[in-house]
């Protein structure tokens, strides 16, 4: 400060060392750009939490031990066979791509059929095994369908009728509907062309289901690409997704009737990284363009505008350099710092070049103009900048990693921009701006501010204060209506290709894309937890090792049961397919249809009319609502009944015999394995997602139901998981943890920033009343900001940062107004002189935040932009209305003001 107080001490230094300063600036920029290359974008929530947070630790352990990352390719279209062909083509293309090969561990098109066949009876639970024994007794269609129907009716209308349908039941039922539908469809086809009968296909359709991963309605096929790299390898991630998207694009062009997309954490991360890159650059660039136009219309020379922007960019690049050399990463909160610094940092330049331009315009030589500029405006600009920087730095005391990083990046950014404005800008003005006079062109004069100041002081003081009080009361009552959005899906970039694909998968499969994880130390522990989790209504699906490997006791018993069952089968017998069998077959297919209709009826009562099973039934059969029949379905069972009625005996016998042969082959394969199932038997891609590489840790993956659509659903799911075990982690738990931390930290950070600002104000003003007035102005602005925001949006974990930020940002305007009034100026003078700089400062800040609000692809960032745009505009409105009205009353009552002003003017003369 002494440097500036000594009338041009700093100006003299700059004047003498202008060239070395610029050279040093260029070197610093080069060094900073080099260091900025070290910055990584991190989009995961756990990157915002402290490393010792138990949920974050558990999540990190899960990522380290298990291969959970994947690229899920979804293809939509008509016809299962066509979808399978498209999936095979695309997968083959990817598998043979030499550039992709190094980064892909494997491509999984469907379940491992051999494992499923040979281990199905080992993995089945007691009831399931008992059912299978009934089904596998007789290889012919009539006895099999009879056993199947008997079993269905017993399970659903006798034993099971007392329980409501759970999500797990719904999924199993959809699978069963699909399998029986396929059998009916194949029967119809083969009865029309008996020579083509594939008995294996029929029995596999019924017992194993689809070979590929289809949606329940069969209109989407999914396959999984497992990467050989981790999510942290950012450069690889982008390269791989470019290649994958290239294959998808080529497939889309070759088959325009099919819809292709990629989802999963790899595409999502790639999209988020691209979005973060966009949010860091483009909103800031857009803000720069608008600010240049505003400056061109407002300031004295275009050259000075360019110099200010050069200094601003230099300050931001230096901040990036420091960021690269220290923290080395950007997260979803810190990614907004570019636009933030454009909005805030430019303010320092505005104050300097506004005054400098006026002096140069009056014919004062640049060195002298610079000296006077630094003397008159240097102190408030420096204090304002320091206040804002300290406010940001105060966030470094937060426990939340995201807040700490943001505080450091933004605080350092303010200081580097301040440094650039005090050294690089003046040096540029002296070296290149010597001939830049006050250009003779049309400019915005902002005279209305002086007129408003005069009218405010003479006529509107009381009405303005009363109106402001009424608005404050109204908006204060809106604040309690503010709600907090805990749904992480609303924070990230919206409408990205991965997000859209993910939403379509969610819509078709009904499983939330945000799984939770629990890592346990043994298969038995996994079984205990899986049993508990399966009873939880909000759990849609569970992947657990215990579903694949039964307990040793159960396997021992199963080995004996299987041996007994093998012996009980006996030799094949001669089956006679007569007239009675034709009628019975038709009846059993009809009975099957009835059972499927009635089971779906039952689910309608518990899951509602729009449940997936009902949709599946309507698709396979027809739309049935009570006694009413609606839209047509595929009528798979009626077609099969007609085919049975039409077929000759020879054809029926041929198809039944072929089915029996396929059935026996499959049954033999099912009974072929005599040793218990162990970890070593698991297919590699399944094992990697369930068992750690040293076979010592086991992962349970829990997918919530689609009910997790609002805060209540999120809390209910997270609460249920916490009650089961506090170690259960995942995006939902991490988001809640972060939200809780941020909500508590927001208040603490706000108070901390407020404390720092209050101390700085007291030091600057040396007046309690002036400090109280500045803080009061800020408080009213914050009430207006929050009240207005409550009417349009929800709070989230990113924009919660706005509260401490606006305290650091908004206080500046009041400082300038109070400072001017305390010098003895009336409101006309205050607002015509300080008002222009304040208005321009506020407009640039609003442009900075507005660019985030309009262009920010991360919704959290965009809502932060909206909130801070409102905050800056409310601070401006308050600083131009109630603050001057109250300040003039408080510091210079009319009678005193005239005398003091006369005295002051006398002193000046």
């Amino acid at each position: 400060m002494k440097l500036m107080d000594r009338n041009g001490g700093l100006a003299g230094f700059i004047a003498r060392r202008r060239i070395p300063i610029l050279i040093a600036g260029v070197l610093l920029i080069a060094l900073s750009l080099w260091q900025a290359g070290n910055i990584e974008a991190k989009t995961d929530i756990q990157d915002l939490l402290p490393a010792d947070n138990p949920q974050a630790e558990a999540f990190t352990e899960t990522n380290e031990l298990f291969s959970t990352s994947n690229i899920l390719i979804a293809i939509e279209g008509t016809g299962k066979d066509e979808l399978a062909a498209r999936a095979e083509e695309l997968a083959a293309g990817m598998a043979t791509d030499s550039e992709l090969a190094a980064y892909i561990r494997n491509i999984t098109l469907g379940l491992d059929r051999e494992f499923l066949t040979t281990r199905m009876l080992w993995m089945a639970n007691e009831d399931g095994f008992a059912d299978m024994k009934e089904f596998l007794k007789d290889p012919h269609l009539v006895p099999l369908l009879t056993a199947f129907n008997d079993n269905l009716e017993n399970a659903w209308f006798e034993e099971g009728s007392e329980e409501a349908v759970t999500p797990s039941d719904e999924r199993e039922l959809i699978d069963m509907y699909n399998r029986t539908g396929q059998l009916a469809s194949l029967l119809t086809r083969y009865l029309a062309q008996p020579e083509q009968t594939d008995g294996n296909a029929m029995s596999e359709a019924l017992f194993l289901g689809d070979k590929y991963m289809y949606s329940p309605m069969g209109d989407m096929i999914l396959f999984r690409v497992t990467p050989s790299f981790s999510l942290t390898e950012r450069d690889v991630l982008s390269r791989v997704m470019e290649r994958v998207n290239g294959h998808i694009e080529a497939a889309r062009k070759a088959h325009p009737d099919f819809r292709y997309g990629a989802a999963g954490d790899i595409p999502q991360e790639a999209d988020e990284e691209a979005a973060m890159g966009f949010d860091t650059l483009y909103p800031a660039l857009a803000a720069l363009v608008v600010i240049v136009i505003l400056f061109y219309l407002s300031l004295y020379s275009l050259r000075s505008v360019v110099f200010t922007l050069v200094a601003l960019c230099a300050g931001i690049i230096m901040d990036l350099g420091i960021l690269g050399a220290t923290i080395g990463e950007l997260n979803m909160i810190t990614s907004s710092f570019g636009a933030l610094l454009v909005g805030l940092g430019i303010d320092f330049g505005i104050h300097l070049i506004s005054y400098y331009g006026e002096l140069v315009g009056r014919g004062i030589v640049p060195e002298e103009a610079l000296s006077q500029t630094l003397k008159k405006t240097g102190k408030p600009v420096f204090i304002g900048g320091l206040t804002t920087a300290l406010a940001f730095y105060a966030l470094c005391f937060s426990k939340t990693k995201g807040f700490v990083q943001f505080g450091f990046v933004a605080g350092t950014g303010i200081l580097t921009v301040l440094l650039a404005m005090f050294f690089i800008l003046p040096a540029l003005l002296l070296v290149f701006g010597r001939s830049a006079g006050n250009e003779k062109r049309w400019k915005l004069e902002y005279r209305f501010l002086g007129t408003w100041g005069r009218m405010l002081e003479r006529r509107f003081m009381v009405p303005v204060v009363l109106a402001a009080a009424a608005v404050t009361v109204f908006l204060a009552f809106q604040i309690p209506k503010l709600s907090f959005d805990y749904d992480m899906r609303h924070i990230g970039p919206q409408n990205t290709p991965a997000k859209k694909t993910e939403e379509r998968i969610l819509d078709k499969l009904g499983i939330s894309p945000f799984p939770s994880y629990l890592t346990v130390g043994s298969i038995e522990e996994a079984r205990t937890f899986t049993d508990v989790l399966e009873k939880e209504k909000l759990v849609g699906m569970i992947d657990s090792i215990s579903d694949l490997i039964p307990s040793p006791d159960a396997q021992q018993k199963r080995a004996a049961d299987l041996a007994g069952f093998r012996e009980s089968l006996g030799p094949a017998y001669e089956y006679v397919f007569g007239e009675e069998e034709r009628e019975t077959l038709a009846y059993e297919i009809q009975r099957l249809e009835w059972n499927l209709i009635e089971i779906a009826d039952m689910t309608a009562a518990t899951l509602g009319d729009d449940n997936r099973l009902l949709a599946q039934r309507d698709h396979l059969i027809r739309e049935i609502r009570g006694r009413e029949t609606g839209r047509e379905g595929d009528e798979l069972f009626q077609k099969a009944i007609e085919a049975v009625g039409r077929a000759t005996y020879e054809d029926l016998i041929a198809v039944d015999a072929a089915f029996a042969r396929g059935f026996i082959d499959l049954r033999d394969a099912m009974l072929s394995e005599t040793s218990p199932v162990g970890i070593r038997d698991l297919p590699e891609d399944i094992k990697r997602g369930l068992v750690s590489s040293d076979d010592s840790r086991f992962l349970i993956t829990v997918f919530p139901t689609e009910d997790m659509v609002d805060n209540a659903g999120i809390f209910a799911f997270a609460g249920a998981m916490e009650r089961i075990d506090v170690r259960i982690t995942g995006a939902v738990q991490l988001a809640l943890e972060l939200a809780r931390e941020i909500l508590s930290e927001m208040k603490a950070a706000g108070l901390l920033v407020l404390g720092v600002v209050a101390i700085l104000l007291l030091v600057t003003f040396r007046s309690v009343s002036a400090t109280a007035l500045a803080l009061g102005n800020l408080a009213v602005s914050v009430v207006w900001m929050m009240g207005l925001y409550a009417l349009i949006e929800k709070m989230n974990i990113v924009n919660a940062l706005a509260l401490p930020l606006i305290i650091g940002i908004g206080v500046d305007y009041g400082i300038h107004i109070i400072h001017h009034i305390r010098l003895g100026h009336d409101l006309e003078h205050t607002l015509s002189k300080s008002g222009k700089a304040i208005l321009l400062s506020a407009l640039t800040t609003m442009i900075g935040f507005g660019s985030l609000a309009l262009l920010g692809t991360f919704k959290g960032i965009a809502t932060l932009g909206i909130l801070l745009f409102l905050g800056a505009s409310m601070c401006l409105v308050c600083s131009l209305t109630i603050l001057p009205a109250l300040a003039i009353k408080m510091f210079f009552p009319a009678n005193k003001r005239n005398a003091d002003t006369t005295e002051l003017l006398g002193k000046r003369q």
């Binding site: 007392e162 009562a605 049935i624 009570g626």
Partner: protein
């Protein structure tokens, strides 16, 4: 003297117990009498909440229930659309379900008596909705006398009752229950029925808004009776499974 005092004490306790038992029986008989009607035709809505704290129901059904003096009942679902016309006949000898979508009638096994009404009754089981006399099903003792009524504890006297104990609070005002706790092999109730509102239909007071809380599953089901006709003639021939086929 000591022996005489003991005798007096035993007699006093025995007399008090006998008096209390009689009182409990009287109360439950009056409560049964209040509940006894020759027929009931009710339109009701059942909202099932999967979570105790949920604000909106996870599923809802609307049904019309008809009961006769023998304790037989017919429930016809009218909402949602997919179960419109689904009918459940309950008699002493079992339950039958009629599916309008297929036109079939199914006999439901007795094992389901303790379960939810065909899976659609949420937390109400057949047993909970049954119209049998409490006095016949349970042996009651008076456990607490309140200003507003009495708390009675009942232990089952029939083998097919799935609860091991119930506690009922009978209101002095109208002899209608205000809450019932259901126990099953444990010190804590597994379910609790709350009667939030009563109404008088055709001169008979009846619960109009009931909430069954399933304390094990942490779910609840709210039953709202929107309309009722009581003691009006009902064709007893309706209460046969054969009638479904017509």
């Amino acid at each position: 003297m000591k022996r005489f005092a003991q005798l007096v004490w035993i007699l006093a306790v025995a007399c008090t117990a006998a008096w209390a038992q009689e009182t409990a029986r009287e109360i439950i008989e009056k409560a049964d009498a209040v509940r006894t009607t020759t027929s009931e035709i009710m339109t009701m809505k059942m909202d099932v909440y999967d979570r105790m704290d949920a604000a909106t129901p996870d599923s809802s059904v609307v049904l019309e229930s008809t009961g006769n003096s023998d304790g037989d009942s017919i429930i016809v679902f009218t909402y949602p659309r997919s179960v419109n016309g689904l009918t459940i006949l309950s008699k002493d000898e079992g339950q039958w379900v009629y599916f309008p979508s297929t036109g079939r009638v199914r006999k439901v096994s007795g094992a389901a008596k303790s379960g939810s009404v065909q899976g659609v009754g949420g937390d109400f089981s057949y047993e909970d909705l049954g119209t049998g006399d409490w006095g016949e099903d349970y042996a009651f003792t008076l456990v607490e006398t309140l200003e507003s009524g009495w708390v009675l504890e009942g232990t089952p006297e029939k083998e097919d009752i799935s609860y091991t104990k119930i506690r009922i609070m009978i209101a002095r005002e109208d002899y209608l229950p205000r809450w019932i706790e259901y126990y099953r092999n444990g010190p804590q109730p597994v379910k609790k029925l709350l009667i939030h509102e009563t109404k008088v239909w055709d001169g008979v007071a009846m619960p109009a808004l009931m909430e069954m809380q399933n304390l094990e599953k942490k779910s609840r089901t709210v039953l709202t009776i929107s309309d009722a006709k009581v003691n009006t003639p009902v064709d007893d021939g309706k209460f046969t499974a054969a009638r479904f086929y017509r």
